[in-house]
């Protein structure tokens, strides 16, 4: 049952990622990326990361991707032109990719011991209380630094995107 759940969301996320790379219209790519993020949120839930799953939905899928979709709608460029790829790239690209994945899968399986299995619900330190505990005690300095970083990003984005006053 656990493997079925994982496989469903893994297949959805890989399909959306392939769609992202293959689609010619940027809006379709953006929506596929939202699909990837949604299915990854479910995968995080399986690994016990409830707070990270919720943060993925709130921050990534709900704010960053909305920003992307707005910018794409604003610029309204339409589909990409079809590219002319060399023949050997088109015919050898996908098989090489699969060979690469197979090699990586073999290496990863060989490194990790076979008892390293993920049982859903066995990781309980991923809820908001435990993460908040660590975030405000051990990782307080990076937390404050990232808030300054976000402030810099806000100022930078506003300065860059406003109209030039003559």
């Amino acid at each position: 049952m656990d493997a079925v759940l994982f496989l469903v969301f893994a297949v959805i996320s890989v399909a959306c990622a392939v769609n992202l790379v293959l689609q010619r219209h940027p809006i379709a790519s953006a929506l596929s990326l939202v699909g990837v993020m949604g299915s990854l949120a479910f995968v995080y839930l399986q690994l016990g990361g409830e707070f990270i799953a919720a943060a993925q939905l709130v921050v990534y899928a709900g704010a960053i991707m909305v920003l992307f979709v707005f910018v794409i709608m604003l610029l309204n460029e339409g589909k990409e032109r079809k590219q002319k790829m060399k023949l050997w790239v088109r015919w050898a690209g996908v098989p090489l990719l699969f060979a690469f994945f197979a090699l990586m899968a073999l290496i990863v399986q060989a490194i990790l011991p076979p008892q390293a299995n993920v049982k859903f619900g066995s990781f309980t330190a991923g809820n908001a209380a435990d993460i908040g505990d660590k975030l405000f005690t051990r990782y307080l300095l990076p937390f404050e630094v990232t808030s300054v970083l976000i402030l810099i990003a806000i100022v930078g984005a506003i300065v860059l995107a406003r109209k030039e006053l003559d």
Binding site: E80, F123, A153
Partner: protein
């Protein structure tokens, strides 16, 4: 590995393979697409794959430090997306095109 995986849970290596697959697809999108925004989205896909890797290893080690690092990656990705899209808007205003081959020279 014995055949009935589902009796004992999901092998951790499957999560890492998923992360690697998503990362390579992100690299492929980054290298092969011409629209600047799609390239940027491939970067976000790579960041997501890395987040998955962090959370998977955090499960294996039994600590939630990986979750916290993943949270910081998300925050930095948000800041980067905001500034990067503002830059893209400015570039579009000047060059009137979104293809990275056309905006590759510093002088107009």
């Amino acid at each position: 590995m014995p055949f009935p995986y589902w009796v004992v849970g999901v092998p951790l290596s499957w999560y890492l393979i998923l992360s690697a697959v998503l990362f390579s697809l992100g690299v492929a999108g980054f290298l092969f697409r011409r629209n600047v925004i799609t390239v940027f989205m491939s970067i976000e896909l790579m960041l997501n794959a890395v987040n998955l890797s962090f959370v998977a290893f955090s499960y294996k080690l039994g600590q939630n430090d990986g979750h916290i690092f993943s949270f910081f990656v998300m925050v930095v990705a948000a800041a980067e997306a905001a500034v990067g899209l503002a830059i893209i808007l400015t570039v579009f205003k000047n060059r009137h095109t979104l293809e990275i081959d056309e905006v590759s020279s510093l002088r107009n």
